[in-house]
Amino acid sequence: VSARPARRGELEDLLRESAPRALAAVVRRFGDFGDFEDAVQEALIDAARQWPDRGTPESPTGWLIAVASRRLTDRIRADSARRDREVRIAAEPPPGPGAEADDTLALIFICCRPELTPASAIALTLRAVGGLSTAQIAAAFLVPETTMGRRIARAKQTVAAADESFGLPAPAARKERLGAVLRVLYLIFNEGYAASEGAQLARTELSAEAIRLTRIARLALPAEPEVGGLLALMLLTDARRPARTDPAGELVPLDEQDRSLWDAAAIDEGTRTLAEAVAGGAVGPYQLQAAIAAAHDRASRPEDTDWAEILALYGLLEAVTPGPMVALNRAVAAAMANGPEAGLALLDELGPRLEGHHRVHAVRAHLLELAGDEPGAHTEYERAAELTASLPEQRYLTRQAARLASAA
């Protein structure tokens, strides 16, 4: 035990880092998931109580593994039907620290099993790997703690029923499973980035957690370019966070942001990460989206934006992952590169696929205004405001409509 008691912030960081490693080691040893997550949580509570007074153990992870294993063994002893397993476990050597990034990523794979809905996978990942409490996750998603507890418990049952052996999936299955993992990590990031008032603090934490977990995934799978692509995308997007809302909490669109507020270190790291990913071969949608984010981040003034490059990247993205949202963004890029008429023509082509979605109307409003049709823009902004389910977007669109009201 070290002589120095841990300070509170340090302790939280340490526990958050150690928890998934300990959980992975315990799952590896006992070969199951549901109960063991509880045992590790209990061990974490013990640690939070004991370490500040008694000092931090030499090996925090080892301490957590030992305490969680002891609790589990007690539980298993109490369950006569599992006596056989106890005998087997007692004969095994104690778990070693293992390759830490691999273990954490293996846990993420378990938490992102394809049987789980996105909301369940997000909650389970944050709880089991992120080390967030059920109360914290519930607060971030503005639902009662009991509801979140049940959501997590059900997700654990699903995972237990799948009875997956612990470890990274075999290469054949890995590609598809990795897709699900990256999607969940990106959704966690977006939940954090789309901060709503009230839950803002908790949500900002979600973005940081998503970045942390994606970093770990990249360490474990350095040869998967899309993992690096996703990390780059997160860093390059998160870099703009300080400029994205004004002091009143209102959304500031990209072309009106104070770019001196952008996080230059995050942009640097994101750009480097992207370059490494792209050098790894196989270009995928996360790398392309990161490249688009990088093109925006490179421009120190909006008018310096290389829209021709962005338009080309959206063309590639649409080829890799066709979809109405990508097509919509390509229409914006076309308008910026070649004039509003080019964008409006693409929007018309898109027509029925997205009619009734607020973003189509918001984009059409923007392009009509650029083309000088203020009454048309006013009508489209109003329509977009009626259709959005997002409060900050609704405020923004209503303000745009009001600005053009005299023209209508």
């Binding site: 909301a119 990106y186 789309a194 949500r203 979809g323 389910a389 997002s390 409060l391």
Partner: protein, 132 residues
């Protein structure tokens, strides 16, 4: 995504008397139905909140005039358009919210006959939806 499922007094099929005139066993069965549905939603990790409102007799409509309060209407003996209560759910899709609404619609009325109540489904304004 979160949805409010709104239940109004009058929006039921056929001629159903106010609950105050139901047999006690029918009232109990209806309340049990609502509580069971809440428990089921809780179990599925979808429940956010459910509230029943006091009856029309206590309802008032108010419009301020900037200086003092002006009660323009109410109490109401019976108003079919008045809200009786709501449920808030956090679900994966609008389809799932509609499925829950359909389930809530068929709570038992007098003699256990399903009410087929019309449920209004409204999405909450939330944070920005991630684009995929």
């Amino acid at each position: 995504m979160k949805f409010l499922l709104l239940q109004h007094y009058g929006r039921v099929e056929g001629d159903v008397p106010p609950m105050s005139q139901w047999a006690p066993a029918d009232v109990d069965a209806h309340i049990k139905f609502q509580l069971d549905l809440n428990a089921e939603l809780m179990e599925r990790g979808e429940f956010v909140e459910a509230q029943a409102l006091t009856g029309p007799e206590l309802a008032k409509n108010v419009i301020g005039n900037g200086a003092d309060m002006v009660i323009t209407d109410g109490p109401f003996a019976e108003s079919k358009e008045l809200l009786a209560g709501w449920r808030m759910v956090d679900v994966e899709s609008e389809e799932r919210a509609i499925e829950i609404a359909a389930q809530a619609s068929v709570g038992p009325g007098p003699n256990g006959v399903p009410l087929r109540q019309q449920i209004e489904v409204r999405q909450l304004l939330g944070p920005i939806e991630p684009t995929e």
